[in-house]
Symmetry: C2
Subunit: 215 residues, 2 copies
């Protein structure tokens, strides 16, 4: 099997702009990507590809393949799937709460397709055993689209139920979840930016931080 | 073991008022309560208590105990826990995505305390093996409070990771999750109010509904 991470660094995550500048967001998305790569490493996924429109913001120590593609998430992933000859795990780069344990479970199901929904009808992770036959359709309630595509192919499907894996970081209030439940580098960054010590060895959202209005 | 459901019907869920009238919200919260009771029934939890400030909006076919308490969620639950002499599952009434399978798993962990976090630092479900010793503290990031209380008691803790059980229905966009992932009576109600058929045997959010602005 291989994992593929679609990734955009430049001016990414514009919905976080009320609390993070462009430069900060670019730093933050790279840390989230590092957390996702670490989860894959922890699950002993050795073949990792990044699909990106520019080589900016790829971690220096990343050992996998980086493919520069034209803009267009669906087209670039579908081309990738067409050329794949082994099971493919498509995992988004904004999932810093995902762990190696989640990945191990997701790739161990026997169903043809495993879907991890994102908030609001998104698709955070897709594991596809026979990728040549599959077409992705991200955006516009992709969770429903991917269920329908799987049905139409007469493939079996497992919907993976995890709060942590379903929490993609798009908006300020998602960073609250990251601070509460995270463990990696993106969480550390958020704590430094928005946290204050509670005195009990935990970090809470500082009432002085820009995030306090979003809790 | 026993399950206890804190419940408020009258003028409940005010954050849903942009899309549901007071009367509609009262109908909707009763359906969510029915779904929670069904999940407990499915898990063969036979002793179910409802703590409520008024007998309004209790399902007619509910066979358990209804206790009318003074307002004040923490005080009424803590009094309940003080008098308990068996493990207690505290489950909120606004969890229509929770299933019998979740409940069965939650009550089967060996840890002293099992916590199902809610969005934004809430606590959706708490399973407490030794309830006399425990004090709940809902509101103001109760997830952290309950972790700290468990730590201070030197008890073991399991944090249960489920997107469905962590999705409490507070705001319009939560109803999107209910329509996408629900199976019970509250989901049916939401579909009738806000859905339209896709022609593929699925229901999508109608662009004509009040919910369309929240997707």
């Amino acid at each position: 099997m291989r994992a593929v991470i679609p990734y955009k660094n430049e001016n990414a995550k514009s919905r976080l702009s009320p609390i993070l500048s462009k430069k900060d967001r670019e730093e933050f998305v790279e840390l989230m990507l590092k957390d996702v790569i670490k989860a894959l490493d922890d699950a002993e996924v050795v073949n990792i590809d990044i699909l990106t429109t520019s080589a900016e913001g790829i971690p220096n120590d990343f050992n996998g393949n980086v493919t520069i593609t034209e803009p267009g998430l669906n087209d670039s992933i579908n081309e990738y799937l067409q050329n794949a000859n082994e099971p493919i795990l498509i995992i988004m780069a904004d999932l810093p709460l995902v762990t190696g344990d989640h990945i191990r479970k997701i790739i161990s199901f026997s169903e043809d397709v495993v879907i991890v929904p994102g908030k609001g009808g998104g698709t955070n992770i897709l594991f596809i055993r026979h990728p040549n036959e599959f077409t992705v359709k991200y955006h516009d309630c992709s969770f429903i689209s991917h269920c329908e595509i799987t049905d139409e192919l007469d493939k079996s499907m497992h919907i993976f139920d995890s709060f942590l894996a379903s929490t993609d970081i798009d908006e300020p209030h998602d960073i609250v979840e990251l601070m509460l439940h995270g463990k990696g580098q993106a969480k550390e960054y958020a704590e430094k930016r928005f946290g204050s010590e509670t005195g009990k060895g935990r970090v809470k959202i500082s009432h002085l931080s820009k995030l306090s209005g979003f809790v």
